[in-house]
Amino acid sequence: MMLRISKYSIFFFALIIILFPRIASNISAIEHYPDIMIFAGIYCLITIGLSLLMGYAGQISLGHGAFYGIGAYISAILTTRFGWNPWSCMVIGAVITSIVAFVVGAPSLKLKGHYLAMATLAFGVIVFIIFNEEIEWTGGPDGMTGISGLTLFGFPLNTVERYYYFVWGIVLAVFIFTVNIIQSGSGRALRAIHSSEAAAMAMGVDVSRYKIMVFTYSAALASVAGSLYAHYLNFVNPSSFDIFFSIKLLIMIALGGMHYIWGAIIGAVIITFLNYEWLHYFEELEILVYGAILLIVTIFLPQGLAGIPAIVKHWFRRTLSDGSR
């Protein structure tokens, strides 16, 4: 069951975002964490959309790494080759990615379950190959450098702290926007599609329209995330957008709990820290850790970390009612 998301929890979330860099800067062991949190925030944008697509509407995508990459490369190409303003690159990236998502999604979303997964996986592979092979445009496996940074109202976002607040400000806005969708007629329609397409149709839900809408929305968010990534690092190369990244996104929402929008945030943050910080020790065995996480979560905690409060509550209620007997 979807728990209602209270204003207080969002307020608390905003407070953590604001305070985190202040706290981190005073503790030398985690001084560099805001930098990692920037990447976590960028991934959050993708996982929020993916959670809406997969957890709420029940449509599987293994190709969101590609949408993320398209956003990043459009920003990279337009700023370096044509000297465009980064903001317009971001918007154009989102528009083009939406169109691509619409074209790919319209036929693919007629497919169900594994077939949809395979179609989006194939799309991801194709896009990855294009990034690698279209050397003239994308620089091939070496990638592209010299992507310009962002400036907000004449205020360059050139420090970790500034970019942190900028990215997490967007995450917060997107989060609230998405929560509003979930807690409205559109969100109900998506969940209805997940539960029974036939019944949703019979109740007047235009199932294909909603599927395309949620697919396009999640792709556009991934594209914006890609642009934010490119303008932050000033460098892109194909390896950031491979199939393994798409799978990592799935691990993020599975770990966090894809039926809860909070799960998108929790999962993205944890996996990002594992990726950039805590798993260095494992080197190339890293992938085994991710596999283990996915395995453990799907077997023992299918609702993900965000589902734990509900389980605890349920358990408490049961113990209490047993005790009163």
Binding site: G185, M201, A202, M203, V205, V207, Y217
Partner: protein, 260 residues
């Protein structure tokens, strides 16, 4: 005055699955404000008829007119928008939602919702949402489930799930409601409740078409009975007329008279 006007007219309808004739020209007219039961042996084409009316299947031939408008080739959600609602033989409630949310989803046709209006929580969207919530509570009172509004829909017993499905179908304020075996799997008390609910729906002015095997329910509440066998209409009339129709008796008993 309007009581005798046909709300749904079906003529020359043919629905074939490969070589199998699921429906073959069962011409009939449903009168507004009545309860019409569609009966017939298993495989007679009853559910297929519902699927054709509600747009889940496109017939090979024939016409269906709802309030003098052709609804052939329309998609299910478009037909729902015109005012035809339905339930399913195998209960299709949204098990990932609460009882109240199930009914609120039923109001979808009254809602012009998009991601933009929902995401920004425009004032109109909020007002609509409030309005829908209170109307959905009214429906829950009508079907007798208001005490369980906040419970997960899949925690209800089957009888209540069926009632909830009817409530959800009523939410779109339909002119015609198609109920596919509303009493199947229910015990005597529950099916009695279902009967009185269907009567109450008729009182509201909604035309009801139902597929049902429970003959007691059919005979108690229907104004008209349509009997199908192998996709064809073999009888149409009042319950009294149908009961004594030799063709109907033959279809049900068969040549060997093994089943009553």
């Amino acid at each position: 005055m309007e009581a005798d006007k046909g709300i749904l007219k079906i003529s020359e309808l043919v629905m074939a699955f490969g070589g199998l004739m699921a429906l073959y020209k069962p011409d009939f007219v449903i009168r507004q404000g009545t309860i019409t039961a569609v009966i017939g042996p298993n495989g007679a084409g009853k559910t297929t008829l519902f699927n054709v009316i509600t747009g889940f299947l496109t017939p090979n031939e024939g016409t269906i007119h709802f309030r003098d408008q052709s609804i052939i080739n329309l998609k299910p959600h478009e037909i729902a928008g015109l005012g035809i609602s339905r339930t399913f033989q195998t209960v299709e409630i949204f098990e990932n939602m609460t009882v109240l949310e199930n009914v609120m989803l039923g109001f979808h046709t009254k809602l012009r919702s998009s991601f933009i209006s929902s995401g920004f929580q425009l004032p109109l969207t909020r007002r609509k949402e409030k309005e829908i919530k209170s109307k959905a509570m009214d429906i829950l009172k009508f079907i007798g489930l208001s005490g369980k509004w906040n419970e997960p829909a899949d925690s209800l017993p089957l009888g209540e799930q069926k009632v909830l499905e009817i409530g959800r179908a009523l939410a779109s304020d339909p002119a015609l409601i198609c109920l596919d075996e509303p009493a199947a799997g229910l015990n005597e008390t529950e099916s009695h409740l279902a009967s009185s609910l269907i009567m109450a729906i008729k009182e509201k002015g909604v035309t009801v078409v139902l597929v049902e095997h429970d003959m007691k329910v059919v005979m108690d509440i229907s104004d008209e009975v349509l009997v199908l066998n192998y996709g064809q209409k073999i009888a149409y009339g009042t319950p009294e007329e149908i009961k004594n129709d030799p063709k109907v008796i033959e279809a049900y008993l068969g040549d060997d008279g093994a089943y009553a």
